[in-house]
């Protein structure tokens, strides 16, 4: 995995390689919030609005049931820790609380089944709409757009970035709703149980948010750079694989390999720095 991204480039085309792709603004240069809002629109607006509302309601109900389990289990533990161990009514109370916890678990699972199913439907439907819109928009663009933007770069965007968007729809949205609702419900419950302990527990949250913000400020430009490098690489691969007949005929496979290696090394160099920061954040 030793790379040499800056090793001597070939003579003739060195001056112009990669110039074209730089002219396209990377996604991170755009307003992130605006992009997210637009992406979300595909999932929560129009014909999806009703289903989305139901999915959120079912998700909240399911999480409520889930959060009830530790509470009900704690009640059962309280019964079990009661000193009058020989009292037959305690076994009944224990069974009642335990069964309630189990029922809450089953209810939570059933509701989660429906909520996850609905979110998966919403996510894949949104991605489908986005793909069709994107393709439809590409069909309306002038030929000069395709002159300015290499096909490889567009393919890179469509294949790589649409996977990221798919992950956003299929995982991030549902997970974010789940996390936010869970956090709110848990916060309410812990404040209800003991507000001093709740404040002590939540005091770490601003520190965490600050750390996330710092890491994001470092990682985002690195990611932008990586996407640019990846765009260069994909453009080159698209150009040379599409033009394979000329490369085969001109016996320039070695040149293509060398160029590809340099561009891949560039992605490796940048890519080794960016994701580790985000991975640390995730941990």
């Amino acid at each position: 995995m030793t790379t040499n991204a800056n090793a001597g480039r070939r003579k003739a085309p060195a001056s112009t390689v990669g110039k074209q792709v730089k002219s396209i603004p990377a996604p991170q240069e755009q307003n992130d919030n605006g992009v997210l809002t637009r992406l979300l629109g595909y999932m929560i607006k129009g014909d999806s609005a009703g289903k989305f509302t139901w999915a959120v309601v079912i998700r909240i109900a399911g999480l409520f049931a889930l959060i009830l389990i530790p509470y009900l289990s704690a009640q059962a533990l309280n019964v079990a820790s009661t000193p009058a161990a020989q009292d037959g009514t305690l076994a009944g109370q224990l069974a009642r609380w335990s069964l309630l916890a189990i029922v809450a678990g089953i209810v939570s699972l059933v509701l989660s089944f429906f909520a996850d199913r609905m979110f998966a439907e919403l996510a894949t439907h949104a991605l489908n709409k986005l793909q069709k819109d994107l393709f439809g928009t590409l069909q309306t663009l002038s030929v000069s757009f395709f002159d300015r933007n290499p096909v490889g770069n567009l393919i890179s965007r469509v294949s790589n970035d649409s996977e990221a968007v798919a992950a956003f729809y299929e995982s991030a949205v549902s997970q974010a709703i789940r996390s936010v609702v869970q956090l709110l419900l848990v916060t309410v419950i812990i404040f209800w149980m003991n507000w001093q302990l709740a404040i002590a527990a939540l005091i770490i949250v601003p520190v965490l948010l600050l750390l996330v913000n710092i890491i994001q400020r470092i990682a985002t430009p690195a990611y932008t750079k990586m996407q640019e490098e990846l765009g260069d690489l994909t453009s080159f691969q698209e150009e040379t694989i599409s033009g394979h007949k000329t490369i085969i005929n001109s016996r320039r496979g070695e040149w293509a390999d060398d160029e590809n290696s340099k561009l891949a090394a560039g992605v490796f160099d940048v890519g080794s720095k960016a994701p580790s920061l985000l991975l640390c954040r995730r941990r």
Partner: protein, 615 residues
């Protein structure tokens, strides 16, 4: 288990030190986390319960240290995991691309550009992500799981069975569910492949789409593919999304059962005390963490495995045209350029390996050194397929092709393509500059030769008018030049290495007739005695040549000079009439065909003055 991902392990051998370091760091992190959990028990039992502030402070300090150690170890492990992930992607991008460079034309018929690009991009990313999580959690999750079990056995042996049952249910469910997730992801990736392929083909041919106003039909086609992908994507997304709450709920249910059963034991005075029961539920929670991690990681691993299988498909593809072990290296300067097709038949091969109906049938054709031969026929007649056999872009199915009596399969491909130059139907230019593109076939060639080649291709004029002349930039695919300019540059590129045999595969189709005529006149002056094969649909491109081969449905239907064919071939007459107007009166002298440059533009353009052309 995960055989395709495991194949990658061989690339990590030089980096075993880093891998071991990362796993040691993860074990340190896991141990620190378990130590923190143990310290919390000390804090509660010996500090808070006994109101011992010294124990509280000391234990709190050690908890802080343990947390810092765990965090630091995780950061180090993350850095190494990313190195392996990105390194894997780098090696795949290099290795796969190098493999693709070994492919022959026929391989590209079976694995299309869009499919290859998806493998190089999305599939590579999926594998890299799988490697990331595999390295990051390789030992962490199992270590946590094992330690939690051990602690449970030591603390609450009477309840271990409940932990085992819970774990078995989880494992059983995973066993049942994961193959389905894998299948769903494999199907999803296949549909994504189709979708991206449709997109790639559309974008590559967007000018044609627009020229023929096919946007709506293209959108409809894309929509069908997108819908097909949605169906599979839904299944995969749902199964993955449900996996995590399923495991979480099972674990919570296990805890509830534990409290119920254990609570009854506590109430019944069977020896289990409430402290042990609480500890058991805590250890059960420790089991949750690795299981939840596995639930998150396993889908990534399965997705990576599906992608690795698709990468393996490319790696395992064998080039369909290979050199013989004893392939000859001929002195290219000694080649005369006599080409003979002997009973040549050819059929394209499908992805499964079976042959299509023959595209070329029993071709017998002799082309003398220095002869200029035109191959004329409608689309699908087999013209390009025939000439592609000469430089071995494909190998003949039957018969043989010789150059100066030597079977082309006895040449090395590299050597053969020094002898045979071809200007392809599609004029592909690469990003760089004009000089780079013209010297693409031979970077060491003199500038004078390059410029002569450009003159022969009628390209020098417009190049000379550019401010940077031969150093002018060429955008990707040469889209900053017109179609005609691209074709002329493409021809100049084919001329520059001065091959002994030159094929122009419909490469003048974007030129006007006058330019085409100039190019035909200039080629012999640039390179004497070059055997030249012109493939064309336009009769104007072959009218002056020494011999015209008329093809239809993969076979030669007639052969001769223009005047001969015009006199006797109904097919040739039909082509002539459709392209140049009515057939002129019988030519006076069929033995003396006109040479290039003698025809008049008027005669060819409107066909009204063809007597002058043939006189």
């Amino acid at each position: 288990m995960l055989p395709n991902l495991r194949r990658l392990s061989s690339i990590y051998k030089p980096y075993m030190g880093r891998l071991i370091t990362s796993q040691v760091l993860l074990l340190v992190a896991a141990s620190a986390s378990l130590f923190t959990a143990w310290l919390s028990q000390v804090l509660v039992n010996d500090g808070i319960a006994k109101n011992d502030s010294h124990t509280v402070i000391v234990t709190g300090f050690w908890m802080l240290i343990a947390a810092i150690v765990a965090g630091g170890a995780m950061i180090g492990a993350a850095y190494i995991a990313v190195f392996f992930s990105q390194g894997t992607a780098y090696i795949i991008r290099r290795g796969l691309y190098e493999k693709i460079q070994t492919f022959s034309f026929a391989n590209f018929d079976q694995l299309r550009t869009g499919q290859l690009l998806v493998r190089l991009s999305a599939d590579t990313q999926n594998v890299a992500r799988a490697v990331l999580y595999a390295v990051f959690l390789l030992l962490y999750a199992p270590f946590m799981l094992v330690i939690a079990f051990v602690l449970t056995i030591l603390n609450s042996p009477g309840l271990v069975w409940l932990l085992v049952v819970t774990a078995l249910i989880v494992v059983g469910l995973m066993w049942w569910l994961l193959p389905r997730v894998f299948a769903a992801y494999a199907a999803r990736q296949q549909r994504l492949d189709d979708l991206n392929n449709t997109m790639q083909e559309n974008l590559a041919g967007i000018r044609v789409v627009k020229a023929f106003v096919r946007e709506d039909l293209e959108k409809e086609k894309f929509g069908v593919r997108a819908d097909a992908m949605q169906e599979m994507a839904f299944k995969a997304a749902f199964l993955v999304a449900f996996l995590s709450p399923l495991l979480q709920t099972i674990t919570q249910l296990g805890r509830a059962f534990a409290i119920w059963i254990g609570g009854n034991q506590v109430l019944g005075g069977t020896g289990l005390d409430i402290g042990q029961l609480v500890a058991f539920t805590q250890y059960m929670a420790l089991v949750v963490t690795p299981l939840a991690m596995m639930a998150i990681v396993v889908p990534f691993l399965l997705r990576g495995e599906a992608s690795a299988a698709r990468l393996a498909e490319v790696y395992n593809t064998k080039p369909l045209v290979v050199d013989k072990p004893n392939a000859q290296e001929m002195d290219t300067a000694a080649i005369q350029g006599k080409v003979v097709f002997e009973n040549v038949s050819f059929a394209f091969r499908r992805a499964g390996g079976e042959l299509d109906p023959p595209a070329i049938k029993n071709i017998n054709l002799t082309i003398e050194p220095g002869e200029r031969v035109g191959i004329l026929g409608a689309t699908g007649a087999g013209k390009s397929a025939l000439v592609n056999l000469l430089p071995r872009f494909y190998d003949v199915t039957e018969g043989r092709i010789t150059i100066d009596g030597i079977d082309v399969r006895d040449f090395s491909q590299d050597n053969l393509r020094q002898v045979v130059g071809i200007a392809l139907q599609e004029a592909v230019l690469f990003q760089g500059d004009i000089r780079f593109n013209l010297k693409f076939g031979d970077a060491d060639i003199d500038d004078d030769v390059m410029m002569d080649a450009a003159r022969a291709a009628d390209a020098h004029g417009f190049i000379d008018n550019l401010p940077e002349k031969y150093d002018a930039a060429v955008d990707r695919r040469g889209y900053n030049f017109s179609g005609g300019q691209r074709q002329r540059l493409s021809m100049a590129r084919a001329f520059t290495p001065e091959p002994r045999i030159l094929i122009l595969d419909d490469s003048t189709s974007a030129l006007d007739v006058a330019t085409e005529s100039r190019v035909q006149s200039a080629i012999p002056t640039f390179s004497n005695n070059v055997t030249t094969i012109y493939v064309a649909q336009r009769i104007s491109a072959v009218i002056d040549l020494d011999k015209i081969v008329l093809m239809e449905s993969g076979a030669i239907v007639d052969m001769g000079r223009h005047e001969e064919l015009l006199a006797r071939s109904p097919l040739y007459q039909g082509i002539y009439t459709s392209q140049l107007g009515k057939i002129p009166a019988a030519p006076e002298n069929v033995d003396k065909p006109p040479r290039a440059g003698k025809k008049t533009k008027n005669g060819i353009d409107n066909g009204q003055d063809t007597a002058e052309v043939t006189a």
